[in-house]
């Protein structure tokens, strides 16, 4: 099976997922409502307390919530993949002369639409509340690329969970155990300096912190602090570990 054919099979199965969104757009609702809920809740509930002024907090929190939204979209992707693997249609894919990786690749391609939508929505809603891009077009494009790279890396973690878990409940449990320390144990909602010392050590190395900082730097035109290369490295490392693992375990799944 050469790479071109494998890619073609993956793209065809990606097309399948896109067509499904078109038929049943309500499955996009949850991933779109979640970030809005978080923005409203954090900005108006905790904004004044954390930053003294909710406008300042909005600038701080929007880039982080974009990263968090991606993590939740990944959870949705893991659930969809897991449900799909338990469907009879999957036996059909496995009995066709197509690349073994194609169903996973197809899922991830389909899900990338969700990622783009959720990030666009976070920034659009943020802009409606007063968030302003200060970094220029190139920097904003850079931030978008960085977010997508991170999404396409972490979605392999979701794929792995979706492949390994036997039930939807297991997917939920595993994903939340992963998502909570990564998103709340980061500087998405509270600046690192305001956190207790023992937590700061984890928050500093947390990839979610790195990506959030990188997006803040680029969208708000802040001085570069090394988080852009750090987040790219994190994305590459996550993909390098989890993509092969997910494909391998998928092939083993009888």
């Amino acid at each position: 099976m050469n790479a071109t054919r494998a890619a073609r099979h993956g793209i065809t199965l990606g097309w399948r997922n896109v067509v499904k969104f078109r038929h049943t757009p309500d499955q996009l609702l949850d991933i779109l409502l979640m970030p809005i809920t978080f923005i409203v809740m954090f900005v108006f509930l905790f904004g004044n307390a954390v930053s003294g002024d909710w406008h300042a907090y909005l600038r701080f929190v929007i880039p982080g919530i974009a990263v968090q939204a991606l993590m939740f979209a990944m959870l949705g992707g893991a659930l969809a993949l897991n449900a799909d693997l338990r469907e009879g249609v999957h036996d059909r894919f496995r009995s066709l002369p197509i690349a073994r990786s194609a169903p996973l690749v197809g899922h991830i391609l389909g899900d990338s639409i969700k990622y783009v939508l959720s990030v666009v929505l976070v920034f659009a809603f943020g802009a409606a509340l007063g968030f302003r891009f200060e970094g220029g077009v190139l920097a904003v494009a850079g931030a978008a690329g960085l977010l997508m790279a991170f999404a396409l890396a972490t979605c392999w973690i979701g794929a792995l969970i979706g492949v390994v878990a036997r039930t939807a409940e297991t997917v939920q449990a595993l994903s939340l155990v992963l998502i909570f320390p990564l998103t709340f144990g980061s500087n998405v909602f509270v600046p690192t300096a305001k956190l207790p010392g023992w937590l700061q050590a984890w928050v500093r190395i947390n990839p979610v912190t790195q990506v959030s900082d990188a997006v803040r730097e680029l969208t708000l035109d802040l001085p570069a602090g090394g988080s852009v290369p750090a987040s790219l490295l994190w994305s590459a490392a996550i993909a390098a570990v989890f993509a092969p693992a997910a494909v391998l375990l998928y092939r083993r799944r009888g």
């Binding site: 065809t12 199965l13 499904k20 469907e87 009879g88 036996d91 059909r92 894919f93 009995s95 066709l96």
Partner: protein, 333 residues
């Protein structure tokens, strides 16, 4: 050498489906315990057995979804373990649970398979349209499969497994859960395919289905083939004639049982509702004489008869004789 390559044993033609000594275990459970199977080309072959007998396991191994622990199997000469890619090009699979995507339309389902098989886009659309037409789904083609009836789903499912015009088609309980009319539709469809040269292997727990549809049957029990033959052969080999009798007054069934047992010398049995009494005729016994003797005793006892007759054993009885049980026991997939 003078012998032509055709007659040398090394190049003996490979049948469409050949399996030898297939073994599959799940922990302590043995799903297959050395199963052999040879299916001749262009035939409909039935794998008959109760739930948990290993039917689905056989189909999953032959269609490369599952690796056997021991034994070998090939499809048109391609080994399922060593050449799975080649096997996948030769087969179509309709699994036990409808392998169609409910969130897509019928047309999109077929288009998806055609594209995965790398048909050029235009050809893929044509092929999807052709199959919808052929399976009586042309009008429903643009509707989501979620809205289809069970019979329509099954037809679409079979259509999807035919997109690549496979030489060998596997169907795992293709009519389970279908109403009698839809079942008849699926049967007609499979007969048409076999007539066109496709080899069809189907599993079923319906004796009637195996009887009506297959050219050959392998009866499976506890992971082994316990009997092979045509439906007629199986019935002749194991079935004796049976006399059946239904009294008008169900309350007299006990008396009827006694009379039948007395005449035939065999134990009489009742059907589930308790109204129909039957007993096997003695081997070599003449049905006419038995009927006459029974009729005379009924007259003496004053029992009115609603129904009486002599028939060959059903496959049900054959199955019971072969396996020693008839009630299917669910042992998981």
């Amino acid at each position: 050498m003078t012998s032509s390559p055709k007659s040398s044993p090394a190049s003996a033609p490979s049948g469409p489906i050949e399996a030898e000594g297939l073994v599959k275990r799940y922990g302590d459970t043995t799903a297959l315990a050395g199963l052999d199977l040879i299916v001749p080309p262009g035939s409909i072959w039935g794998l008959l057995g109760p739930n948990g007998a290993g039917k689905t396991t056989v189909v999953r191994i032959l269609s490369t979804l599952l690796r056997p622990d021991a034994g070998r199997a090939s499809i048109c000469g391609a080994d399922v373990q060593r050449q799975p890619e080649r096997v996948r090009e030769l087969i179509g699979l309709t699994g036990q649970f409808a392998a169609v995507d409910e969130a897509l339309t019928g047309f999109e389902n077929l288009l998806l398979v055609a594209r995965l098989l790398e048909l050029p886009d235009r050809r893929a659309r044509e092929r999807a349209g052709e199959l919808l037409e052929r399976f009586g789904l042309a009008d429903a083609g643009s509707r989501l499969v979620r809205t289809y009836s069970g019979g329509m789903r099954r037809r679409l499912d079979v259509a999807a497994s035919l997109v690549g015009t496979p030489s060998v088609l596997f169907l795992d309980e293709p009519t389970t859960g279908l109403d009698p009319r839809s079942r008849g539709d699926v049967w007609d469809l499979l007969r048409g395919l076999a007539a066109g040269g496709t080899t069809v292997l189907l599993t079923t727990q319906y004796l009637e289905e195996a009887d009506q549809l297959s050219h050959g049957i392998s009866v499976i029990d506890h992971g082994r083939v316990v009997e092979t033959g045509t439906p007629a052969q199986l019935k002749a080999r194991l079935g004796r004639q049976t006399i059946e009798l239904r009294p008008v007054d169900r309350g007299r069934a006990d008396d009827v049982e006694e009379i039948l047992a007395g005449v035939t010398g065999a134990t009489a049995a009742r059907d589930r509702e308790g109204g129909l009494v039957s007993a096997a005729l003695p081997a070599g016994g003449r049905a006419g004489a038995v009927l006459a003797a029974v009729a005379a005793r009924l007259e003496t006892a004053g029992i009115e008869v609603a129904e009486i007759g002599v028939r060959l054993a059903t496959l049900d009885e054959v199955f019971l004789a072969l396996t020693g049980h008839d009630a299917p026991v669910e042992a998981g997939r």
